[in-house]
């Protein structure tokens, strides 16, 4: 025992470990790490909850599950929220795969929603509803695409920093929507958003949210195929891996960037359309509700794979709904759910390290050297 201690003290390594990149990891092992990290996170959340409020953690998690899937209405609510979050996450994914940090989804969603609301107010009643819905959809796609293209244009033309540019575009969109919300509110200037009657999405089989969910499922499948099997999807991956390689094999990086950002913005526009016409039937500056930012985490945690993202977006919405039930039942502040979500995301982010790298002990090697 003493000898080991000695070797540690005289070791010329500054830390007892060094980091080695894993070549690749079996899929079940990777998922094991993720599951362990979620369990650890839930334990930490439990400890925090007890120390703050004295609530029994088992009871707390039961309340959480009840709050997320307790009634049929809640289940539909859960699915609809997952669908919208997934839709925004799908939107940002092609851009991220290209290493274009589009953190402007919040704004792109809002602008899409604004386009939809504008149609519902000014064109409602002038044309048959199916046509109106089509116009709403097309215009919101266009609006979202334009909002996404502006930063992409400056990135390709002048190499402006896209992370900062898209971030700023969010707040411009938020303020514009806040302006119109007030202008359109009844009575004017009161801040109570107007309920938009004309052009609401129809309820399928008596379920208000079903159409939203179906549309997002279609987008998910298309996006999966687009990224995995299409030529354009391949070009996106190449640009993301190395711009120089892309140039060398004759891909126009600028063209790919503009096209991908247009797609990214367009799908955000669809999310805005679904939120305004399908879910809320009104427009507020918090219609997007931070989903533009949450989507970034969903997409990244889902490894930019649309199918995994179904899981990650479900997990996050489940946590949020569950945690807000906890705060409701135990009369805590609703922000409790943000703390829980934050902690769990930290743990999942941290677990990625152990999936990509492994720690090797330096102790063994120094001993080996001595032998």
């Amino acid at each position: 025992m003493k000898k080991v201690n000695n070797s540690l003290h005289t070791s010329h390594f500054s830390s007892p470990f060094h980091i080695v990149k894993r070549d690749d990891i079996v899929w079940w092992k990777a998922w094991m790490f993720r599951v362990i990290s979620v369990i650890l996170a839930l334990i930490v959340c439990g400890v925090i909850t007890i120390s703050l409020t004295g609530i029994n953690p088992v009871k707390m998690y039961l309340t959480m599950i009840e709050g997320a899937v307790g009634t049929t209405r809640l289940v539909w609510n859960l699915f609809q929220n997952t669908a919208i979050l997934l839709c925004v996450s799908l939107a940002v994914t092609p851009a991220f795969k290209m290493r274009f940090w589009n953190i402007g989804a919040e704004g792109q969603v809002l602008i899409g929603g604004l386009a939809t609301a504008t149609c519902m107010i000014f064109l409602g009643g002038t044309m048959p509803t199916p046509l109106l819905i089509l116009v709403m959809l097309v215009l919101s796609i266009l609006a979202g695409a334009v909002w996404g293209l502006v930063p992409a244009y400056f990135k390709t033309r002048f190499n402006s920093n896209e992370t900062l540019f898209t971030l700023m575009m969010n707040y411009i969109a938020i303020q514009i929507v806040a302006y119109f919300t007030l202008e359109w509110s009844v009575p004017k200037g009161s801040g109570t958003p107007r309920t938009l009657e004309m052009g609401q999405l129809p309820a399928l089989f008596g379920q208000k949210y079903l159409i939203n969910i179906i549309i997002v499922v279609i987008i998910t499948v298309i996006m999966y195929i687009y990224l995995k099997y299409s030529k354009q999807g391949y070009e996106i991956s190449v640009v993301g891996e190395s711009e120089n390689t892309a140039k060398y094999i004759g891909i126009s990086v600028k063209k790919v960037m503009l096209r991908t950002m247009a797609i990214s913005g367009a799908i955000c526009g669809i999310a805005g359309f679904l939120l305004v016409a399908g879910t809320d039937h009104s427009l507020k500056s918090d219609t997007a509700g931070g989903r533009g930012f949450t989507a970034i985490m969903v997409s990244w945690l889902g490894k930019f794979n649309p199918l995994f993202m179904i899981l990650t977006s479900f997990l996050i919405v489940f946590l949020q709904k569950g945690a807000s039930k906890i705060s409701e039942v135990y009369r805590l502040n609703p922000s409790f759910s943000d703390i829980i979500t934050g902690i769990i995301i930290f743990f999942i982010i941290g677990s990625e390290f152990f999936i990509n790298y492994k720690l090797k002990s330096n102790k063994k090697e120094t001993e080996a050297e001595r032998c």
């Binding site: 953190i103 409790f336 930290f346």
Partner: protein, 328 residues
């Protein structure tokens, strides 16, 4: 009236100045910390919690020691915000996580902490006060410099603020000095421009990243503390801090990564923030469009600097990029 506008602009600008100085230090090490809004909330609530517990422990406001009343919230704020920086650093530097994802998660987490404790602090410590109103502490924080009342407009413009305003300006000036005139600053900038080169030159990249992010976060946290204690008169209201965290990040771009310019920039942003109040007959909705201006101006600066493409006005070259020594 011009004097009042200027005064209010400075007061609006101070949280932004703290936030942007902290973020500049962080970004100079190559880390785009999007957790700043959350960090500022945590800084604010840590200070509030410290001061609340202190006010509760003292029998009556007259017995409070003014020195402790300032020191306790100040330390709590620095520690709270610094710890948030540590979380960010541990995840992005040691565990090599994506900076944007970590930063956004930190913002969610931090705003959650701020609002949760702001809303439940009273319940958690079983106190019987109706709301968190730290008026005594706030009065100490708001103490003006001597002679502020007697020197007319000069006193109003330059001497009439609480001490944190001067701290913000001094911190910005010191940061400028350290970044541009000292060896430590040179090393820090080299870490942000090209970590490989810095590493090869024998600079401890990890150490610089940790220190600059944690110190930067602590400074940004002070912005939150200033907002609650001075601007909001010690009254905590959930989400009262608003989007000032994002505005500070905008201010970083506006000032082209120079703390000295952000002193003036913060006053300009503050000016844009308060100006709608002074326009007669302005509608509530038009006010919203005015609130858009700082972001528009920031985008213009971002575009113009990238068009002019002058080296000294660009973001640090390695901003947002991960650095793994083994993957060079």
């Amino acid at each position: 009236m011009l004097i009042t506008i200027l005064q209010r602009a400075v007061m609006q600008g101070t949280p932004l100045l703290f936030g942007s100085t902290g973020e500049i230090l962080t970004e100079k090490s190559g880390h785009l910390n999007l957790g700043i809004p959350g960090i500022m909330y945590v800084g604010a609530i840590s200070g509030v919690a410290g001061s609340f517990l202190y006010e509760q422990s003292v029998a009556s406001p007259e017995l409070m020691n003014p020195f402790l009343a300032v020191l306790i919230p100040l330390l709590c704020c620095l520690i709270g915000a610094g710890l948030m920086g540590l979380i960010y650093c541990f995840l992005t530097v040691t565990l090599r996580a994506n900076q944007n994802v970590t930063g956004l998660a930190l913002t969610t987490f931090g705003i959650g902490i701020g609002n949760f404790f702001g809303g439940s602090l009273i319940k958690l410590v079983d106190s019987d006060v109706p709301s968190i109103a730290l008026s005594t502490t706030s009065k100490i924080f708001k103490t003006e410099l001597p002679f502020a009342d007697q020197l007319g407009w000069f006193g109003d413009i330059f001497l009439s603020y609480g001490f944190l305003v001067y701290v913000a300006i001094i911190v910005a000036i010191i940061s400028t000095y350290i970044l541009n005139r000292t060896r430590v600053g040179l090393h820090l900038r080299s870490v942000g421009e090209s970590p490989e080169t810095a590493d090869a030159a024998g600079i401890n990249v990890t150490k610089y990243k940790y220190l600059s992010t944690c110190i930067g976060s602590a400074i940004a946290g002070l912005g939150g503390l200033y907002y609650v204690m001075d601007y909001a008169n010690g009254v905590w209201s959930n989400n009262g801090f608003g989007d000032r965290g994002w505005l500070s990040i905008a201010l970083v771009i506006f000032s082209m990564w120079r703390p000295s310019i952000s002193i003036l920039g913060s006053i300009l942003f503050g000016f844009l923030y308060v100006i709608p109040t002074y326009i007669p007959d302005i509608s509530v909705s038009a006010k919203k469009l005015f609130e858009m201006l700082p972001y528009v101006v920031t985008i213009l600066v971002l575009v113009i600097t990238s068009i002019r493409n002058k080296k000294e006005n660009q973001p640090p070259a390695a901003l947002g990029l991960p650095y793994f020594r083994e993957e060079r």
